[in-house]
């Protein structure tokens, strides 16, 4: 029944090329560094480090984060098609996919509820030079800190841990 899936052209390419798999994993690793790294930097700022950097300016990181995410979605989709039947049945893989959906929702809320209002509040300051005294810098609400911690924990605990397990459980299979 899944025969056509297992013999899709992408699966054949990844299986027959000695470079496809390491190349895809490398792209996936670079994308992960950008996505999780920038999430961590934004979260650190919401938690207060460094307190006097204007929070609204961090909205500018979302474009880079999205680019990293697209690299991972693309490389991840090809890696999935290389072995779709086994992966779809793999519990770690299912947990990882569910975690990514939650992670995207949390990041989106962080963008809409924290970064966009911060950028709007700081906009008049940004027209001139950034205020050195930090007085006009947007202070995030307490709920933003929960979002920030949730975003990092979801990427770390769910996506990276279950991603590692996907690799190990597929080897074992």
């Amino acid at each position: 029944m899944f025969n056509w899936l297992e013999n899709n052209p992408i699966a054949n390419w990844v299986a027959s090329s000695s470079w496809a798999y390491p190349f895809l994993l490398t792209a996936h690793g670079l994308g992960m560094a950008v996505v999780v790294g920038l999430t961590a930097v934004i979260a650190l700022r919401i938690l207060g480090f460094p307190r006097r950097a204007p929070l609204g300016a961090y909205k500018g990181l979302m474009g880079y984060l999205l680019a990293g995410f697209l690299v991972n979605a693309g490389s991840g989709a090809v890696l999935f098609l290389a072995d779709p039947v086994a992966l779809a049945a793999n519990l770690s893989f299912q947990i990882k996919m569910a975690s990514i959906v939650v992670g995207v929702i949390v990041l989106w809320r962080m963008h809409v509820k924290v970064l966009v209002p911060a950028a709007a509040a700081e906009a008049p300051v940004a027209q001139g030079s950034v205020a050195a005294d930090g007085v006009s810098i947007f202070a995030p609400p307490r709920s933003a800190k929960a979002l920030a911690i949730a975003a990092v924990l979801i990427w770390w605990l769910s996506v990276i841990v279950s991603g590692r397990l996907v690799a190990y459980l597929s080897q074992a299979a």
């Binding site: 670079l30 560094a33 790294g37 999430t39 460094p50 609204g56 300016a57 990276i160 590692r164």
Partner: protein, 163 residues
């Protein structure tokens, strides 16, 4: 294929309790690998933001403030160093004779020297009030090199099992 000759340092490492522990506990290796991935994200995130700013992007972010992320990057690097040593102790000869590993270590040293160059040739003058540091060529070069070298470190790390 003939077995590669054991380097003297590998012979010594394989007599240590840490080697025995890493070999007997597969879970320890997986645990260190997960920590290595988490540390990587902090190191990459902090440096990427500073380097993008150094290259002239994210102009609304003051480099002086972003530089306060450096202690996080150094802390994350310490995690990388310790977990990386655990990998080496698990199978020393494999790593020492691996081309990707050798290139990775050279790139880590170069990235470290480049970070020192950024600190002393760019950040310290800026902090001391020297004008126009942001437009200096050395600012752009060290920032660009930082991204390229750390990306190289990550790529070589990924390729260790394949080359």
């Amino acid at each position: 294929m003939t077995q590669p000759e054991m380097l003297p340092i590998s012979i010594w490492i394989e007599t240590t309790p840490l080697h025995t522990f890493m070999v007997q506990n597969q879970i320890a290796f997986t645990f260190c690998e997960t920590l290595h991935f988490m540390g990587l994200t902090i190191l990459a995130g902090a440096l990427l933001v500073i380097d993008l700013r150094g290259l002239g992007f994210l102009k609304r972010m003051p480099l002086y403030e972003l530089h306060k992320l450096v202690p996080f990057a150094i802390g994350a690097f310490a995690v990388q160093l310790l977990t990386g040593l655990a990998f080496i102790f698990s199978n020393p000869n494999h790593y020492f004779l691996d081309l990707s590993f050798q290139v990775k270590m050279v790139l880590v040293v170069l990235a470290g020297l480049n970070a020192l160059a950024f600190e002393f040739l760019v950040f310290r003058p800026m902090k001391a009030g020297v004008p126009n540091v942001e437009s200096w060529a050395v600012t752009k070069i060290t920032s660009g090199l930082s991204i390229a070298l750390w990306a190289g470190v990550l790529i070589c790390g990924r390729l260790i099992p394949y080359v």
